[in-house]
Symmetry: C2
Subunit: 415 residues, 2 copies
């Protein structure tokens, strides 16, 4: 078939990662090579919100060298959003507006870069355009540190976050045992529903510097059991490192910070409920129950933006995902997300696997329960075999004066 002639719109959505712009680079650099078909390449400011507001950049005016630099620039350079489209059957206002913008700017290629919600958005837009009789190729480019997208071996962004988390865990392990006194350390990792990132602390155990206890949201969290686990190890060694997902919940579905917030006294002097993070709440609890010195550490935004510690494999794959989206679109595919399938060989190798958006949308992939030990407080070798190959290479990020050199985009608005 003949490829559609027209313009391409690319948007970034949801929480950023340290390699999300590598996918943007892949889309842009590949798309700009096909000017006979893709006449203009646009980057939406703040994802779908930018399209609704007719705010997007003309990528053709950027320096190619700076587009290459996007590979090593963390956190959605075009801007992101957390905008959820309504069900078109109930309210099609936004869809009609999108169609209007697509028609006005002759958008025939729409690529959206994000996680579960974004794949859902992609899918809904594609269906609407088809029903409206407007020809437009729609492609999902995966991105999420959470690693919870369905159908792909892993997600762009996960490996770099995992590398930072494992590295930091090793370093904190070294730091947390320098004194001759007891010490308990609680490391809080992102992931509301899936424990992939928290499980990444397990990689540090491979180097003898890992946590003693790992709690994922896949297993109901029991405060008393955790306390017993900690007390046992503390009695034996005087040092305990705990990795815990921000998303762990009790069997009644209560998040850890809510255990405190529910209580009336947990109000600070400004009149605010002290919600606090999971780590700080657990640290306070363990301090009281054990009398030990306890430190709570939240890896916060760093785990998703630490580009200086990104995995080059992740960067290359993220770039490839973007590039492949263009290539497959030009081959005539639509309504797919680019995914990865791992070779069964002993050397790590991933091949492209195109996954229908319908299958991906709103399905979460969690850590298999059989990879978690029976006690629900540690992660098995299966996870190591899965994740370690993904973090092996160091980033080729360029430094200036010992600091990262990020891409400098002109961001020329399309009028």
């Amino acid at each position: 078939m003949t490829a559609l002639k027209g313009n391409l719109m690319f948007g970034q959505s949801g929480g950023p990662t340290s390699v999300i712009n590598a996918s943007a680079a892949g889309v842009f650099i590949e798309a700009l090579k096909h000017s006979e078909v893709i006449e203009k390449v646009y980057g939406a400011a703040n994802g779908i919100v930018g399209i609704l507001n007719e705010k997007f950049y003309d990528i053709g005016q950027e320096d190619l060298n700076e587009l290459e630099m996007l590979k090593y620039t963390p956190s959605s350079s075009l801007g992101s959003c957390r905008y959820k489209l309504a069900d078109a059957a109930k309210d099609d206002t936004d869809y009609k507006r999108l169609l209007e913008v697509f028609q006005k700017y002759n958008i025939r290629y729409f690529f959206y870069n994000g996680g579960n919600d974004s794949m859902d958005t992609c899918n809904k837009i594609s269906k609407f355009m088809q029903n409206a009789g407007y020809d437009c190729v729609v492609m999902g480019v995966p991105k999420t540190i959470d690693n919870d997208l369905f159908g792909t071996d892993h997600c762009p962004g996960f490996a770099s976050a995992a590398k930072y988390i494992a590295t930091t865990t090793m370093e904190v392990y070294q730091d947390a045992r320098v004194y001759d006194t007891g010490m308990i350390c609680v490391i809080e990792v992102m992931g509301r529903h899936a424990g992939w990132l928290t499980a990444a602390t397990r990689l540090a155990n491979e180097k003898g510097c890992g946590p003693d206890l790992i709690y994922l949201p896949e297993v109901a969290f029991d405060m008393d059991k955790m306390l017993a686990d900690v007390k046992k190890i503390y009695a034996e060694t005087g040092k305990v490192i705990i990795a815990v997902s921000e998303g762990v919940q009790t069997k009644d579905g209560v998040f850890i910070p809510e255990l405190v917030a529910k209580d009336d006294v947990a109000v600070d002097s400004f009149g605010h409920k002290q919600l606090g993070g999971t780590a700080s709440v657990l640290a306070e609890f363990l301090k009281k129950e054990t009398g030990a010195k306890v430190r709570g550490i939240e890896l916060s935004l760093m785990q998703r933006c630490a580009s200086h510690c990104a995995s080059q494999i992740d960067i290359d794959e993220s770039f490839l995902a973007g590039r492949t989206a263009v290539i497959k679109a030009l081959e005539g595919m639509t309504d797919y997300m680019v995914g990865f399938e791992r070779d069964s060989g002993s050397e790590y190798k991933c091949n492209i696997k195109m996954i229908p958006l319908n299958d991906v949308a709103n399905t979460e992939k969690k850590v298999p329960l059989e990879w978690i030990n029976k006690e629900g407080n540690f992660v098995g070798q299966e996870f190591v075999d899965y994740a370690l190959p993904l973090i092996k290479e160091e980033t080729k990020q360029i430094k200036e004066d010992g600091l990262p050199r990020f891409a400098k985009l002109k961001k020329v608005l399309v009028k």
Copy 2:
């Protein structure tokens, strides 16, 4: 003069840094070359506490390659302590015990690696040994991320922490402005009395990704002024990044977390005062006062143990400090700390400067007030010129499977 014949004892003290073991490597590798004078090289387990308890390792039994690896291994590999010796005039129990151990093991070289307190310890021990007529060469090897030791251009450990802090600030800057909604981000940095580390966030401004406001402990902190600063920038740009030292105090000498803890309602459901960090208290305050989305980030232990982001200049200088201590001791010097003096040329170069322990002990070096702007909310170019040359080179840390390869010591106890 003829160098004293006997054994060498090296100890690490106080809070660790990501390069503290590079100084240990410098002492050990150099000392082991001089076996005609330094017969045995010992490493104290947990600093002075290990000596008091006769617990130390025979470094001669370690592999030279692993001692080299110490350069890239964060956080006191021998163990540290926070043990403060009494004034010998009031209570000389510990000093007598040290003398006993020194005599028993023929310790003629005592090197102590640490910050202000450790240099004071060094000095006290040296005086006592002299008064007791026991010949022992005493050397201080500097170490502190706080950069507050007197008489030296900068302190081993500072540059690596500064590099991590500046890099992380740049990355968080990118992350904190991806959405089209307002965002205030408070980054809390270590430093109870001196603002060197918090000032390091200023380096990120050189790359266009730095904080809008920087608050150091050198200037009295005014909550209302800070709020006005934030509101002004927020109204203009919708994004504010604030770097604040954990040590900022109001003009009445009250630390930020104490502003909350003093209040009776600030008690959590476990019955504990919610002390919280400076960042989380300021974040709560700003949330209430501005209604904006606010995130508090504590760089926690990571800023002092992130060896993967260490400065190779810092590593080399830390090693040199340790090595120089041995060389100068063999030349007959005693009661000195190894320090650095910067060349006045345009290219960065530091020379060794030996500083009498008497001058160093318990004197704190703070950020010059003339380097802080008049409003007390930002840091000047003078700091950039001072600090940027220190962070320029990347660590040569070896990776295995994409994770840091730390030194593996045998730690054979001396019996």
